[in-house]
């Protein structure tokens, strides 16, 4: 009886903390959705109004009409998918080489790569842009995908995880005549599903949110991406926040759907990497 009561209290505490945590995470999200339904006066009211006076979807239709979001969505998807596949390939191969293979100049090369992380990405914008114009890649998908196909940060991150896998595993595989590539595919990747999933998520999000680069290398409306759609509602004199919020909802929906489908893998990945420490 006592123990049961103790369990109940423990559960209440547990769920209480979880609910508070969930509220904190969901709040901005809820705020975005509610704000997307407010009128301009409501969104600027002081003290702030939490619920709109009527739940109207007008802002969504206005926002949707203001820009070809369908097209932007397709473009964003294309860029995100191809870039992420590319990033995973380069990251995994490079990390394997740095963690496992021995070749002359390995340390120097890794140091050089790490040194490039010190250069702020803003500094690279103009030089990369010039390269794109020289290649005549302006207004193409490859201009948005190719320059970001390798990320030193992800390579470094994954190298650390790969390096933690005991040598014994590699040597045992070698004894069994397993080639490096097969070892990478069959053993290293499955063991490191966690960090690889994390890298995938980070990369998808950064693609989804990237703004300045896609804006620089595209000119036609047909090639623009989702984040560009948000700018439609900002001017020098003021912003139509209710429309920005509505557009933000539209922007976030695909990511939500992706999460629902990949939830299992994402949670698995995160917990796995957690256990492994």
């Amino acid at each position: 009886m006592n123990r049961k009561a103790g369990n109940v209290i423990a559960n209440i505490l547990k769920y209480g903390v979880l609910i508070i945590g969930a509220l904190f995470t969901l709040m901005p999200f809820l705020w975005m959705i509610l704000s997307a339904m407010k009128t301009n006066a409501e969104i600027r009211a002081i003290p702030p109004v939490f619920f709109p006076s009527k739940f109207s979807l007008e802002n969504f239709t206005t926002a949707w009409k203001a820009a070809p979001f369908g097209r932007y969505l397709v473009n964003t998807l294309i860029v995100t998918v191809f870039n992420t596949i590319g990033v995973l390939i380069t990251t995994i191969l490079a990390a394997f080489a740095f963690a496992r293979l021995n070749f002359p100049g390995k340390k120097v090369l890794l140091t050089l790569l790490l040194a490039t992380m010190m250069i702020p990405s803003e500094m690279l914008l103009i030089t990369n842009f010039i390269t794109m114009t020289k290649l005549k890649w302006i207004d193409t998908y490859q201009a948005m995908i190719v320059p970001w196909l390798a990320s030193v940060f992800y390579i470094y991150l994954l190298t650390q995880f790969f390096a933690q896998i005991p040598d014994a595993l590699y040597l045992a595989a070698k004894v069994d005549k397993c080639r490096d590539f097969k070892y990478l595919i069959k053993i290293m990747i499955p063991i490191n599903k966690g960090p690889i999933t994390t890298i995938t998520i980070l990369n998808v999000i950064s693609n989804w949110n990237s703004f300045v680069w896609p804006l620089l290398v595209t000119n036609s409306r047909e090639m623009r991406v989702l984040s560009y759609g948000l700018v439609q509602f900002q001017t020098e004199e003021g912003s139509a926040y209710e429309l920005i919020m509505a557009a933000s909802c539209i922007l976030v929906i695909p990511i939500m759907i992706m999460y629902l489908f990949l939830r299992k893998y994402i949670i698995e990945g995160v917990t796995q990497s957690g256990i492994k420490g």
Binding site: A45, A66, L125, I130, K134, V231, F233, T235, E236, E237
Partner: protein, 412 residues
């Protein structure tokens, strides 16, 4: 027979040679059909109106010129993109720009002096302040396009309640501020563009702002100006924008008596529960009002492109187009004849913002432009917030501003 032929030929030659140059030029003005790219930072209504005007040009021009509008985000994005494109030599034929974006690539700008001289309808008809701005580079580097000015927006209902009139002078402004503080415990003044406010206030006190030689207001007139400004802020008559982004939302929610902002910002003010008033900027020794908004700058390289771009520039700045543009967007016409047209006058009769803006048209001045003007603008904005937050005395505030400007200009 042969003599006659030769004679006729000679006669023809002589006649051809004696043709006036102008007629000759007119004959040569053939533009091959081409596409002109125009990069802009207009969105929403403004973009729609620009598209309407451009569609009409594309349809009606006799040369088969097609202008392609390319939205490049907001001004900040557009400026970044122009800078990058200038380095890569990939500039568009035409772009909206502020002069101070252009200092890094003035050599890429097509001077318009000859175009204006040979083929432009009454250059003097353009508003004087705008012309001065377009000539800041030492040549005509642009034509004015989406222009606006700063005005004082105020809550007329509150003013009436307190028995106040819109401030006409600096003293009025301080008196209004004091009254608001006493009766409502609320500031009556704010500015969206702090650096622009400092520059305008100095001009109102007949004092220069800055140039390549650094700050030019380290003197009596400059100190008077700072006394006025710090008097507003240190007494709580004025406030900084803080977390609110734009004063248009602060006035909409009735948390301030009034503010200085761009005349086009009026569309972001929601005056549902009060009456909005609009007044020209308060003056001191003389009237001076910032002009804002971008100009259109030509970068087209090829002669035919330039000619085609010029046709479009002429069209956008024509009395007819600028009147329509102004009435539909809230920007100001770029021509005096447009301001004075019956169409715009009757529009203005119902539009308090346009009325206030027009009443100070003779006081328009362009922001000072020099090599470091963009950097100075950013630093002054930051410094302005600092001196207000630190509640500095006018002398100290003056010293801080002078120092930061001189630093940006590399002056001792």
């Amino acid at each position: 027979m042969s003599f006659r032929k030769t004679g006729a030929a000679i006669l023809a030659l002589v006649m051809a040679a004696s043709l006036p140059v102008a007629a000759f030029a007119e004959e040569e003005k053939t533009i091959e059909p081409t596409e002109v790219t125009f990069w802009h930072g207009m969105s929403n209504t403004q973009e729609q109106v620009l598209t309407e005007l451009t569609d009409r040009f594309n349809e009606e021009n006799e040369y088969g010129i097609t202008v392609k509008l390319v939205n490049q985000g907001n001004y900040g994005d557009l400026s970044t993109k122009l800078t990058a494109s200038a380095v890569a030599d990939e500039l568009p034929d035409l772009a909206q720009a502020y002069n101070n974006w252009l200092t890094a690539y003035t050599d890429k700008i097509v001077p318009l002096d000859e175009f204006v001289e040979n083929d432009f309808d009454d250059y003097e008809d353009l508003v004087e302040g705008y012309r001065a701005e377009c000539e800041q580079l030492g040549f005509i580097g642009a034509l004015p396009f989406n222009k606006s000015t700063y005005v004082y927006f105020y809550n007329k209902t509150m003013f009436d309640e307190l028995g106040l009139e819109a401030p006409k002078t600096w003293e009025d402004m301080l008196a209004v501020g004091e009254k608001f503080m006493e009766e409502k415990e609320m500031p009556a003044f704010g500015v969206d563009d702090l650096a622009g406010f400092l520059e305008a206030s100095l001009a109102q006190n007949e004092c220069e702002y800055a140039s390549d030689e650094g700050a030019l207001f380290d003197n009596e007139a400059g100190l008077e100006t700072l006394e006025y400004i710090m008097g507003l802020y240190n007494n709580g008559y004025a406030r900084l924008i803080g977390e609110d982004d734009y004063f248009s939302s602060v006035i909409s929610t009735q948390r301030i008596g009034g503010y200085i902002g761009s005349s086009t910002g009026v569309s972001y003010i929601t005056a549902d529960d009060f009456e909005l008033g609009v007044a020209p900027l308060p003056t001191n020794k003389k009237a001076a009002a910032n002009q804002a908004g971008t100009n259109i700058v030509m970068f087209a390289q090829d002669e035919n492109q330039q000619a085609a771009t010029w046709e479009y520039m002429k069209y956008l700045t024509s009395t007819e187009a600028t009147t329509e543009w102004a009435m539909k967007t809230g920007y100001l016409p770029v021509r005096v004849s447009a301001f004075e047209s019956d169409e715009y006058q009757s529009f203005m009769a119902d539009d308090i913002t346009a009325t206030a803006a027009y009443s100070q048209v003779d006081a328009f001045f362009p922001a000072a432009m020099f090599e470091a003007s963009n950097a100075v603008r950013t630093s002054v904005n930051t410094m302005f917030e600092e001196v207000v937050l630190d509640e500095l005395e006018p002398e100290d505030a003056l010293a801080e501003f002078v120092q930061i400007i001189n630093e940006e200009c590399d002056v001792e």
